[in-house]
């Protein structure tokens, strides 16, 4: 099972999706926008982005890393 560059790109993408689901750069920030904390809006937006990227993964890269899968 050899890994290609695209594999590593996806692994890196997933790592970023995990890492920034919590807006660490807003640590201690208490600004409020439309009744909810700004950091919560970031999180909600990020989760939607995550869903979109996951969807792209299922379209483009599904079966990656699973070994040889015959369809």
């Amino acid at each position: 099972m050899t890994r290609t560059r695209t594999d590593y790109l996806w692994i890196a993408t997933f790592a970023v999706l995990v890492a920034l689901a919590v807006p660490w750069f807003l640590w201690g920030d208490s600004r409020v926008f439309a009744g909810l904390p700004l950091w919560l809006w970031w999180h909600i937006g990020w989760m939607l982005l995550t869903a979109a990227v996951f969807h792209l993964f299922t379209r483009r890269a599904w079966d990656r890393g699973m070994g040889e899968v015959s369809n």
Partner: protein, 499 residues
């Protein structure tokens, strides 16, 4: 007050009857063999798979523990849930779940222990995995029954005693799990999941309107609990957020009722669609549920000792029937996780312990009957335990996620690395369980300025160190040992098909 009690019991009662009717409907479609009983003949579609896993993930925590936590410590728990269930678990859904589905379809596996036992040619490994899983599962089911009993006491102001509430829920669950198997569980879970989502959004809307809108609510927070609006602080350190999210996400993937879901999808397409929908579903449920707890803190709601914040808040701002509907939602959450745990627990027992060690020639029909008896016995035992609430069991239940998380990395290593050996698996699983259990039960000791058996090492949770140890042992011992002749090293890498 009598009429309020009548309304509350009526709402909960109607809900239970609907769930039972769905269970009966599923029974008509279930044949008598074990694969159909445990796995609904591997024929579960997208919506049902997504909701059954989702409802199973949600325990009493969504409605009681979670909002209570947000009420006391602030809303950052939303982030923990998001990272954990929305992103990390979704990735594990692919890495562990999809791989298990591929492998399970070819070789007909029903349980995690069966899959590992076959790959490593070891009945003892199979039994070990089942045994450890049952050890952590049992007290966790007991906690759910305790929650159900307490919810009914809270709802009826003690008119129905604790034991009767817990017993009622237990009997009800046994009835539809025994009758309908996984198909019934999955269908009722779907109903329960949709119901919970609907109810929690109605609750948020209702409270927001009654209290003057989200801006008024955040102003109240800024006045009464300004620290809740700022990200972090108090309980929430970066280490806490990361440790909690990682150990629970990996633990969830090894919980029997979740792990067994990985074998049930009808096609790869079903897993694909569910994968992309995870983050959305998690946001849809947990943001409103935990906001309610947070808002209650801003509104200065006072919660009596031992009560949960959500019913108190709803009784203040919404009509009686609606508060009862939310408690019914909470019971739905408890039942939808417990019913699946009962079913999986019983399948681990019959497939991995009874069949290989007691009666290898048991027929499929006999096994399916035994599984039903297993469900009843398991539920009855956890119910009896929930009456006595032994402190040790409560502690095991509270630390169950971390306990399951210790198995995750050895399993992932085995799934992807053909050079993993049986000795490596034994070392990784037993070593990390011993480490973890020692930290749960042995009191902290100071040794030359270093605290051993404390909650953290270098500010990181011991469960995380246990996981690291499990991976190191599995890989390290595998490198040092040679595969036994009866191991099937190519089991997980060759001949898998997605169609």
């Amino acid at each position: 007050m009598v009429s309020a009690l009548g309304i509350q019991l009526g709402v909960v009662g109607v809900y239970l009857v609907v769930a039972l009717a769905i269970g009966l409907l599923a029974y008509r479609l279930t044949s008598s063999d074990a694969e159909d009983y445990y796995l609904a003949g591997r024929s579960i579609g997208t919506v049902v798979l997504l909701f059954t896993t989702f409802a199973t993930l949600l325990s009493a925590f969504t409605f009681f523990g979670g909002p209570d936590l947000a009420f006391r410590a602030g809303p950052e728990w939303i982030l923990v849930m998001g990272v954990m269930d929305g992103v990390l678990f979704a990735i594990l859904w692919y890495v562990v779940g999809y791989k298990q589905w591929l492998v399970g379809k070819v070789h007909g596996y029903v349980t995690l222990g069966e899959m590992l036992g076959d790959r490593f040619g070891s009945k003892r490994l199979r039994a070990l995995v089942a045994g450890i899983s049952l050890f952590w599962l049992f007290p966790y089911v007991m906690l759910q029954q305790m929650g159900a009993g307490e919810a009914i006491v809270g709802l009826t102001n003690g008119a129905i005693p604790y034991w009767a509430g817990a017993a009622g829920i237990t009997v009800f669950m046994i009835a539809y799990v025994v009758i309908a198997g996984l198909r019934g569980v999955a269908w009722t879970d779907t109903l329960q999941g949709l119901f919970m989502l609907g109810v929690v959004w109605l609750a948020v809307g209702w409270v927001a309107v009654a209290a003057g809108g989200p801006t008024a609510l955040s102003n109240a927070l800024a006045t009464n609990k300004p620290e809740f609006l700022a990200l972090g602080g108090g309980l929430y350190s970066p280490q806490f957020i990361i440790s909690t999210a990682v150990t629970i996400a990996f633990g969830v993937a090894m919980f029997p009722q979740i792990n067994q879901r990985f074998f049930v999808a009808k096609s790869g397409k079903v897993l694909k669609r569910s994968f992309a929908l995870w983050p959305v579903l998690v946001v849809l449920l947990f943001v409103p549920a935990f906001l309610l707890g947070t808002w209650a803190a801003g509104l200065g709601i006072s919660v009596p000792e031992g009560a949960n914040v959500l019913p108190v808040l709803l009784n203040e701002y919404t009509p009686v029937w609606f508060a009862a509907l939310v408690v019914a939602g909470a019971m739905a959450a408890m039942m939808s996780s417990s019913d699946s745990m009962l079913l999986s627990g019983s399948s681990y027992f019959t497939r991995d312990l009874y069949r290989p060690f007691v009666n290898p020639s048991a027929t499929d029909a006999r096994e399916a009957w035994l599984a039903r008896i297993g469900v009843a016995v398991f539920a009855t035992l956890t119910f009896v335990a929930s009456l006595f609430r032994p402190g040790t069991l409560v502690e095991v239940g509270d630390t169950a996620f971390g306990g399951f998380a210790q198995m995750a990395l050895p399993v992932i290593v085995a799934l992807y690395w053909p050079k993993t050996t049986r000795s490596g698996m034994f070392a990784g699983i037993i070593g990390s369980q011993a480490f973890y259990l020692a930290h749960v039960f042995v009191p902290p000791v100071d040794l030359a300025g270093v605290t051993l058996f404390g909650a953290t090492y270098l500010t990181w949770d011991f469960a995380l160190w246990g996981m690291l140890l499990s991976a190191l042992l599995t890989v390290g011992v595998s490198v040092l040992t040679v595969a036994a002749p009866e191991e099937n090293q190519q089991r997980f890498s060759e001949g898998i098909r997605a169609d």
